[in-house]
Amino acid sequence: MATTLHSLLDQLRETRAWKSVFRRGPARTNRTRSLAVFGNLFLHWMPVKVREKSLAVRASYYLGSISFLLFIALTITGILLMFYYHPAVPQAYRDMKDLRFVVSNGVFLRNAHRLAAQLMVLLVFLHMFHVFYRGGYKPPHEFNWVVGVILLLVTLFLSYTGYLLPWDQLAFWAITVGTNIMSAMPVIGGKLRFTLLGGNLVGENALLRFYVLHVVVLPLIAFLFIGIHFWRVQKDGGLTVRSKDDGKE
């Protein structure tokens, strides 16, 4: 059974259609493995070879990778949730009830989205602390550290804008308190709050603005900076520890 499947697959791989998409053949030699990374749109920011030491769990605990994977999961679950959510008052709350009681697998989807969001904030903090304790911010990695701090702020802001969207008491008052803290900023505080909320109160304008920020603006900014972050890691030499006396290792 397995051999017929195997030979079927081999035959498939010989077809012209397949070869027009996957042009280099199976990645079984070092040459084809190099090309699989080098010639791939999604992977070519990676080097073709990596240091064996950098693959160890203790090197990074894969914290950065897991943060990124959570971001992908959030994007997917988020897009799915968008099909049933209207950013309007009070329809948003009714849609949350819909997702819970009416939509098939809605409750699971929302749970997964919220869980991944909390995990991502936690993981991003852990990643930052681990990079610090490992000395991964030292030259020439300074700029990447700053990009990382920007990503931390984007993550927090993403979580915060998403927090308002269910339009329940928890959401409404958390955002009320948060925007009031923001208005304590000198000179620009009041104006900033007014512009962010689209008014004096947390209302339908605020919900719509937070929705647009959460769903479009911040994810695009995040993708942009994630790209820079990954690129810089690889361009600066990858995850290898430079010397044994650097930080904790």
Binding site: A36, L43, V48, I66, A73, I181, A184
Partner: protein, 236 residues
């Protein structure tokens, strides 16, 4: 001395007039072979398959937990009724706890602003880039400085009654002071703490205080932001 060759490429090297720096030996470096970074492996399959495994483990975990742990949904938003207590998301609860002691401008604008600025500036601070242990240089003078800072911080926090910040600060301060007096050949913890650089101590203090504040804000604060014991209050 210049080299004249048949092809006349004009390669000029006048070592006497323009001495070239070949290697720069500082006080701290010694002649040694730079650390071998180890063997190289092909990204595919070694890295990519590990990432795929991480993705699968993560998916399984998230799916399992999401199947059983429901996200909360309270009543419809009511601008006229403030729930008691009204809590921010968990990652801001540390900040909200700080707000209990300090005015909104300080706890909400200045302190977070300082924290973010400090984070960004970390790699550009050229102090102690080699990570020298905290008591290695001028131990007596440094000890006096750090003790002064700890005392000043204690007084400031006590003035504001910010004891949830004060307690972890005092704890870290106590460990720091103990590490100063501990013998360099002493127990493993003593040696460990003595080997940490100042940057490690600062970050550990910050992380410890942040974690304590977040835990307090999550579990130990009830209606009116009063102190509650989590085992006595129902729900957090």
């Amino acid at each position: 001395m210049t080299e004249k060759n048949k092809i006349e490429t004009g390669f000029g090297s006048d070592a006497k007039k323009n001495p070239q720096r070949i290697v720069f030996v500082t006080r701290k470096t010694s002649a040694k072979v730079t650390d071998d970074r180890g063997p190289l492996l092909m990204t595919y399959p070694h890295l990519l398959l590990r990432e795929a495994i991480a993705a699968q483990i993560l998916t399984v975990l998230v799916v399992l937990v999401a199947l059983f742990w429901d996200a909360p949904l309270e009543q419809l938003a009511n601008p006229l009724l403030t729930p008691n207590p009204a809590k921010a998301p968990w990652y801001f609860l540390g900040l909200q706890e700080l707000l209990h002691y300090f005015p909104p401008f300080v706890a909400g604008v200045i302190l977070p602003g300082l924290v973010v600025t400090a984070l960004i500036v970390i790699p550009y601070f050229n102090v102690n880039i080699e990570g020298a242990p905290i008591w290695q240089r001028n131990p007596k003078q440094h000890f006096r400085n750090y003790l002064g800072v700890i005392i000043a911080l204690t007084v400031l926090l006590a003035l504001f009654d910010a004891w949830t910040v004060l307690a972890p600060t005092l704890l870290i301060g106590a460990v720091l002071i103990w590490s100063y007096f501990a013998k360099p050949e002493g127990s493993a913890p003593a040696r460990y703490f003595r080997s940490r650089p100042l940057s490690w101590w600062l970050m550990t203090w910050f992380v410890f205080v942040a974690v304590i504040l977040t835990l307090v804000g999550t579990f130990f604060r009830g209606p009116g932001w009063s102190w509650v014991w989590p085992w006595r209050a129902y729900g957090a």
